[in-house]
Homo-oligomer: 346 residues x 4
Amino acid sequence: MQTSVKVAVVGASGYSGEELVRLLIAHPRAELVALTSRQLAGQTLGSVFPRFAGMRYSELPFINSDVESVVASGAGHVFLALPHGLAHEFAGPLLRAGLKVLDLSADFRIKDVSVYEEFYGEAHHEPELAARSVYGLAEVYREALKGADLVACAGCYPTSILLPLIPLLRANLLETDSIHVCSLSGVSGAGRNAKVDYLYAECNESIRAYGVPKHRHLAEIEQELSSAAKSTVLISFTPHLAPVTRGIHTTIYAKPRRGVVPEQIGEALAGAYAGAQFVRLLKGGGLPDTKYVTHSNFIDIAWRYDARTGRLVLLSAEDNLVKGAAGQAVQCLNILCGWDETCGLL
Amino acid sequence: MQTSVKVAVVGASGYSGEELVRLLIAHPRAELVALTSRQLAGQTLGSVFPRFAGMRYSELPFINSDVESVVASGAGHVFLALPHGLAHEFAGPLLRAGLKVLDLSADFRIKDVSVYEEFYGEAHHEPELAARSVYGLAEVYREALKGADLVACAGCYPTSILLPLIPLLRANLLETDSIHVCSLSGVSGAGRNAKVDYLYAECNESIRAYGVPKHRHLAEIEQELSSAAKSTVLISFTPHLAPVTRGIHTTIYAKPRRGVVPEQIGEALAGAYAGAQFVRLLKGGGLPDTKYVTHSNFIDIAWRYDARTGRLVLLSAEDNLVKGAAGQAVQCLNILCGWDETCGLL
Amino acid sequence: MQTSVKVAVVGASGYSGEELVRLLIAHPRAELVALTSRQLAGQTLGSVFPRFAGMRYSELPFINSDVESVVASGAGHVFLALPHGLAHEFAGPLLRAGLKVLDLSADFRIKDVSVYEEFYGEAHHEPELAARSVYGLAEVYREALKGADLVACAGCYPTSILLPLIPLLRANLLETDSIHVCSLSGVSGAGRNAKVDYLYAECNESIRAYGVPKHRHLAEIEQELSSAAKSTVLISFTPHLAPVTRGIHTTIYAKPRRGVVPEQIGEALAGAYAGAQFVRLLKGGGLPDTKYVTHSNFIDIAWRYDARTGRLVLLSAEDNLVKGAAGQAVQCLNILCGWDETCGLL
Amino acid sequence: MQTSVKVAVVGASGYSGEELVRLLIAHPRAELVALTSRQLAGQTLGSVFPRFAGMRYSELPFINSDVESVVASGAGHVFLALPHGLAHEFAGPLLRAGLKVLDLSADFRIKDVSVYEEFYGEAHHEPELAARSVYGLAEVYREALKGADLVACAGCYPTSILLPLIPLLRANLLETDSIHVCSLSGVSGAGRNAKVDYLYAECNESIRAYGVPKHRHLAEIEQELSSAAKSTVLISFTPHLAPVTRGIHTTIYAKPRRGVVPEQIGEALAGAYAGAQFVRLLKGGGLPDTKYVTHSNFIDIAWRYDARTGRLVLLSAEDNLVKGAAGQAVQCLNILCGWDETCGLL
């Protein structure tokens, strides 16, 4: 175990990259040695992001987004905070240069490259890396992550859906053909992209669904649910955009298998997350509220059994930029490095 | 057909009552002759609601909330914009005095008084009025409304759920045991009540579910769905609070019956709403967005068939204060009076 | 007086153009015959703006933005809802073709073309039109507007500042060298432009000043204040961006001349706006709140005398898209046509 | 210097108290030993504030709000996060029991008790404590704070106004009779009080001024400005409510004395805040934006000289709950304890 490591963030100009920087500023063991961005090269962190002025790393300059520069920075671990499709180009060369890679994009999450190509509409150039990557959902793949050199960090919506469901599917408590999911995300999930659809005046006082009925995240959600259930699981999933900057709220309907009693639901969740400090199973009358998890790496989960319909309602809330992206990635780094999983995150 | 009628609004201090006033100001055939409120009696409309200063009725004073005062005002039609439980006291005496009543509360929506008592936790004192009332969902009960003297205006969530589903259930196109609904409402739905939960700083940057798993509106939703399906329909329904002032967005999952082809869905909806000017069936790639319906009496509806899962996704958006409350009530008034249904609303 | 006129909107794809359409839909005397937009030509109003689907004009197609097409539409009055600099190209040819022009941009507001060029950084090609235009602030230029063929509609910030100050300067009640203004605007004021600065996640939970210390609107503000005072008036003005879609709130500090008593302030305002139905002078303890004026053509004005400092505080609120843009333009149209000033606006 | 101290928070149920807890959770040297609240006694921190569940102190129970309980907790330093008027009752007994008191209310900020009584409308029962307190504005009173036992932490608006102005007044650069201030605050500044005025639906899409023309904070603002200027300073100040949860933005107009050149402004500010890590003087084209300071103890300050009017514009942004309340208080604690001023805050 190293007491500290040097890290780089490739593509630090978006919201996930910025959030990674925020977390790394507070991290006692990870030293940020390089930030890359094609547009921002030469400018300092503090001048690009005024919120970081006067803080650790505020004078660190952005460098160009190329593999050589990253390797030259001395970083041993690299976060890729790039749009999907671009991480392909970086991961291979960085791995061959001996660096470990934590990718926040979707590029290496899908084991079956044909599924990737179906959902993302693009050819995948590194199928062997997709096969070798470890899915970066710490509470589920903790052991595998310890030895990983390529982490495909879980997506924001998938995290909010998988953590409530996986323990129940693993314990064989649910019918696998009756899962319906509604998720709501804040607008930062759309990235720092200049598009009319995400202007303030278009999102304020607006609630809308999108990506109906086949959002890209279904690929990884169903891959992981199927793996947990040991059978193919198809779900209905509808993402919605709500006027908050941060936060995802997910409501899941599922049907317990015949004979399952509600207590088993609670026990399966409690058992799965007994040592998971970032998963909070709400007790009593509590229901998840995004405002209780924003700016933190927590995911809050609650459930109710509806005796009228015989269905289970599972609810979760997380910060899409933290537990759904940058925090998740740092949590994975902590595991890779053998540190306490909460290091720098609590 | 009268060319104009005199109307009163009882309980005009809340958001629905205020919205009713806004609509009545613009109505060419309804003359507002009385506004009541226990706390505001003696004050003028314009002084209580500065947005109405300088407009028609701005000098109209609030009067006390009692039956005698309303009858004395000369009003022939009375809107009750009161919390549930209170409309009970007003409807009977007003009807016996010969007035027609349009109630915006839940008090007369539930035909089976025991269901009302189960969901609302209170005794119902006017079961024969509940039995006699017409459910105020204009697109479904247009004919019955023509002769009604007591209208139980449909609730905000129910409107957003019933309008997409009823034509499909009437046409026997859906499995009735597989309906799952997620709705999101703006905060005005919680009323103008001084509660910490609805403070700006508690609702901003917050998304949360509530009333899980048995929200009160289920009573009327299932009553009307069952009526349309001619069999008992139980559904899963989860309301969420989102940081907008106005608007409800609803996403519904349902399973078409075996043999139903997607075109039948579109045809059933188009057939049901051919002459319904406030129901907009979105074409092409359009999905409902609350910002397109706020401040209007429209409800926008879209649907998608998900071939992967064999399920139907229905989506709707409305303004909870207009099509979900005050606009619906005015639409019902127009029908009662034999006027064009859009009078004052378009 | 014509009982009705045909109108066109050039540049109807932005927020002001869209708001104009909303107002024209409700206008009983103006018939919308043409909508232009370079990008949207060929599409119908209802398909471009889903909020207008199913309403009057929803099937009206956008046509190309050129003078010939507008003239061919038969419109007698044309609203130009274009970015500044572009209205130059349209106004002259339209006027020569005998149409009347109501321009919502800044192009013809500044009488002294060198001031225009100083503040807007571009050459002005139609100085004689700038000289001949009437400034479209109905409450101040009502008489001149009656015979105008080119109206330079007042800007959003200027309207909120000029209406409180002009009566006091005309009455010689204020020191002219001590006016300080702070204004706050909603984000729709920045237009429907895809820029990162106006993304939801950049504007939400954000308050910021901009254009310090020399915002472009100073040119017309000081021109009109100087005209009212009959001497050169320079002011301090700071606009701020606040996270609302609509609304401008303005707070003005001014110093009454020696000997002026507070009652004179109230009398000057009341006298100036005695017949002005869209100017509401708040009484009692009321202070302007943008939520009371949004979606309306009202401007609310209040004032307080601060005996501690001997200064006057004037406050106003308006909807930047209505009284600050499209509503103002329709009000001017009503005056041009000899109709009641509130026609279609109340 | 003690390496650590035990602290208590009296009145921890409001927004400032909650924010104090958030900061103390992250503080390496302050150990939170008691939380008080009349309504919440007996409940744990994590159950009352779900955002703190699973974190340090989440099992700490609230105790009753009385002096004996606080003393019995072993705390050596006590934060009072109470409404003004209540801190009076606690400070004296706690001081006599040997504890040090950091009061976040206005109770001990005003040296001249008659001014307190004029602005707060209540009798002051502890004039000698008001006289002895040190005003808790760390950048200005750092030396005096080192030996203080009663700190009257600066208010939220005052902090945003005083930090830009005090260095300029001390350096005699400004006319003292021409200061005009506009401030905008988020709604958390109104406290966690169930009042209709602060409901989401009343604050969203709303901008409004309040407390015109004599807001209570003027008392401490003018006291401190006068102290800096060594002469009586009266200012105009208008606070506004904007729809954000956190953040204050302040715009100040002032007139440099004859002969002062703009460079002197920059030098005075730079000199005053050379070692002040929480004061960021923005360079280049940067202007303060509340989103860059929320959740941090920074205050961002910029200025522009307006050659047209000969006036100075000063702008600042801070988080009202951090630099304007809880962060300021922790910064003062750090100074009292002889620790690095940024301990636990950066």
